[in-house]
């Protein structure tokens, strides 16, 4: 439940960022990062629809590798 997922910012409108990851787009709240400069192309760590940290591209990609494994395992067990 505490696991957060990296997504990339595609556009920003106030406290809402339109983000993308793995073919999925979501509107994400930037309210918890309101004191940071967030730009298009940045990677964010998203938890329950809110960005909680800005992260590097490398970190985003290595986290997605892990999540891909977790998802594959889950569909195997389902």
């Amino acid at each position: 439940m505490c696991l957060a997922v990296p997504m990339q910012v595609k556009s920003i409108n106030g406290f809402i960022a339109h983000c993308y990851a793995k073919g999925i787009t979501r509107d994400v709240s930037l309210f918890l990062l309101q004191d940071e400069i967030i730009e298009i192309g940045d990677y964010l760590l998203i938890h329950v629809g809110y960005a909680i940290q800005k992260i590097s591209t490398d970190e985003a990609l290595s986290t997605w590798e892990l999540l891909d494994q977790l998802l594959a395992e889950e569909s195997f067990n389902a």
Binding site: M1, C2, D35, L45, H47, Y50, I55, L70
Partner: protein
């Protein structure tokens, strides 16, 4: 396994390890990664990896779930909860509703959601209804909930909060005479919000080797290597093995918002009892949104459920790291993911469910 992970494993194998060393993690995400990567079988047998209190759904008090069920059944409301909560059973006589899923089947308007923003949207779309959002979660989840409140929530949205803080549970485990572990892996995403400094007490007050880990095999192995080496060298420091995401002070904006909307309270943990300063409750300013105060009758009734666990269920022992999941009397006997008896078999982050899904039998 990556080259880097293999290199770290070799480094761990080359250490002059003691006869037995017990390393606790307090995060369901860590436990899932450990099980997925098969770290227990890859590491030397003298290293025991213990899942601790890392699942907010598992420790959500019976009385709070009972209260949510009663409000959903008896009041004209829409009840919202994160999906994991719907199947967690309470201890009630046969034939009565034992979880939110059954309450939904019996006609209550209960909807699983994945984000606080969905709660706001549902409340706005149903202005004539009272909407109750039942929330269990640790610090990572409490920050978005606090943001939802601070941004301004609809008048018809009430909250039933079962939010908990992680560190007080670890403090409680360390304050017992014989802690069940020798080193700690601290939770990465909790620390991304709260900062690494929050875990300094483990080192300063208890001189226990501690490392903050991320969720990749490499990050977890780095943390395991760090605490093993600290133990061997009879030293203890807080090693941040997840610096890409965790800084000393955390997300300062998020912490400020959390402090504005919540008060810290002594709070019950399922099967464990009250842990001082471990819960969050809405501050007085938001009292009109507190479902406990709007529906006091169920809070009163629910109090009788305080501390109840299903008969034979050893979830409390599992959460405290006193027994392994497969040492529970019910594990794989009457308790399975498809028909769970205890909360640790329900949630994706519950230790019993993770162990069962990774093929560990009784």
């Amino acid at each position: 396994m990556s080259t880097e992970a293999k290199r770290l494993l070799d480094k761990i194998r080359a250490l002059p390890l003691p006869d037995k060393v017990r390393i606790m993690n307090v995060c369901g995400g860590h436990e899932r990664s450990i099980s997925l990567a098969g770290l227990r079988s890859a590491l030397p047998t003298t290293i025991e990896l213990i899942p601790g209190p890392g699942c907010p759904v598992c420790i959500c008090p019976e009385e709070d779930i009972y209260q949510a069920i009663q409000i959903a059944i008896n009041e004209d409301v829409i009840l919202l909860a994160f999906g994991d909560m719907l199947r967690v059973p309470v201890n009630v006589p046969k034939g009565t509703v034992r979880n939110l899923e059954q309450a939904k089947a019996a006609g209550a308007d209960i909807r699983p959601i994945a984000s606080p923003t969905e709660a706001v949207n549902i409340a706005n779309a149903n202005p004539e209804k009272t909407v109750v959002f039942f929330i269990a979660g640790f610090e990572t989840t409490s920050a978005p909930v606090a943001a939802m409140i601070a941004e301004g929530i609809p008048n018809n949205l009430l909250l039933l909060l079962s939010s908990r803080l992680t560190w007080p549970a670890v403090a409680m485990l360390l304050n017992t005479e014989t802690p069940t572990f020798d080193a700690l892996i601290a939770p990465g995403h909790v620390a991304s919000i709260m900062g690494s400094e929050e875990w300094h007490f483990v080192v300063d007050q208890h001189h226990m080797p501690t490392a903050i880990a991320g969720f990749t095999t490499e990050s977890l192995l780095s943390a395991i290597y760090s605490v093993l080496r600290q133990g061997i060298e009879h030293t203890a420091f807080l090693d941040n093995c997840y610096p890409q995401v965790v800084n000393p002070h955390g997300n300062i904006t998020a912490k400020k918002i959390v402090n504005q909307v919540f008060n810290i309270i002594d709070a019950p943990w399922r099967g464990i009892g009250i842990i001082p300063n471990s819960g969050l409750e809405l501050s007085m300013k938001f009292d009109t949104h507190n479902a406990r105060h709007r529906f006091p009758i169920y809070a009163e009734e629910a109090r009788k459920k305080s501390g109840a666990m299903p008969p034979g269920c050893d979830c409390a022992g599992v959460i405290l790291g006193k027994i392994k999941p497969n040492e529970c009397r019910l594990y794989g006997e009457t308790c399975f993911p498809r028909n769970p008896v205890g909360p640790c078999m329900v949630s994706d982050e519950g230790a019993c469910r993770i162990w069962w899904s990774s093929g560990i039998k009784k």
